[in-house]
């Protein structure tokens, strides 16, 4: 049995679900952010697999753009986390409850 597109898509789905699990489970903002990155990477695996098996370039080029946007997103997100820590002295989500009540 050779590895076809379905195996790559299964891997992508499992990676995405693990990232989602981490976002639900963890309380540390930085780890939640890492899990968001994992979900983004899982979607790129599916795009590259579709591009490979359809013999088109569009998925690959799209992943190229996703990488660029992800780099910008990480920079801005981490700057926001640093600014948040500077004001509240914590990055645990259960202590960041200013909107509660």
């Amino acid at each position: 049995m050779t590895v076809g597109i379905n195996e790559y898509l299964y891997l992508s789905a499992v990676l995405f679900a693990i990232g989602f699990f981490g976002v639900l489970l963890r309380k540390n903002t930085l780890v939640i952010y890492m899990c968001l990155e994992l979900m983004l990477v899982a979607s790129t695996v599916a795009l590259v697999a579709f591009s490979r098996f359809n013999r088109t370039m569009d998925g690959n080029v799209f992943v190229f753009f996703i990488l660029t946007v992800a780099a910008a997103e990480v920079a801005v997100g981490l700057a926001i986390i640093v600014a948040l820590f500077r004001r509240r002295q914590t990055i645990q989500v259960e202590e960041l409850n200013a909107l509660k009540n």
Binding site: V3, G4, I5, N6, E7, L9, Y10, L11, A13, V14, L15, F16, A17, I18, F20, F21, G22, L24, L25, R26, K27, N28, L30, Y33, M34, C35, E37, L38, T44, V45, V48, S51, R52, F53, N54, R55, T56, M57, D58, N60, V61, V63, F64, F65, L67, T68, A70, A71, A72, E73, V74, A75, V76, L78, A79, I80, A83, F85, Q89, T90
Partner: protein
């Protein structure tokens, strides 16, 4: 078949270290597991003949993003890195959400109607994404406007990061 063994090895490596990111006690260890997982994804890209994307993945993610994460973790983490144990409700709720999403996605893949693609093996397909020339042709013809927009986006992100991390001492409303 050696590519098959390689695929299963790298898939297990990627998924296993992704799980380790979630379950690790130490935030720094989580970041390093994320690094392993991203390198695993890069090797999956190599198996899919997307060599440029694999190299970019290692440069951008493993080089820049994980380094930035490690830097911020060491800057901010006040708990000595270790997390508190999970509450039982959180574990149950998160596992339920995980199972639901995983089931939905796997059903979507299985019933997604990929029969025409699934029969083809990668060995008999021409790898289009392997050549750098194809990327250049696409990026400078069809996707010329998105390339410029992305460049502008990077500039805006850089300015935004500078504004966010700068301290404004004379201004009251920015606090």
């Amino acid at each position: 078949m050696s590519p098959d063994i390689l695929f299963y090895f790298f898939a297990a490596l990627t998924a296993g270290s992704a799980l380790a990111v979630v379950l690790n006690k130490n935030t720094i260890a989580s970041a390093l597991c994320l690094l392993v997982s991203l390198v695993g994804v890069a090797s999956i890209f190599v198996l899919l003949d997307a060599f440029l994307l694999a190299a970019l993945m290692v440069f951008v993610y493993a080089g820049a993003v994980v380094a930035l994460f490690l830097f911020i973790v060491m800057l901010l983490d006040t708990y000595g890195g270790d997390r508190k144990p999970f509450k039982k409700t959180t574990i149950v709720a998160a596992s339920f959400g995980f199972a639901l999403l995983a089931l939905g996605l796997l059903t979507f893949v299985q019933r997604g109607g990929q029969e025409t693609l699934a029969t083809a093996s990668p060995a008999e397909l021409v790898p289009v994404g392997a050549s750098l020339r194809a990327y250049g042709e696409q990026l400078f013809t069809t996707y010329l406007l998105p390339v410029q927009i992305v460049g502008f986006l990077l500039l805006i992100a850089m300015l935004g990061v500078i504004v966010l991390s700068k301290k404004f001492e004379g201004l009251e409303d920015v606090k």
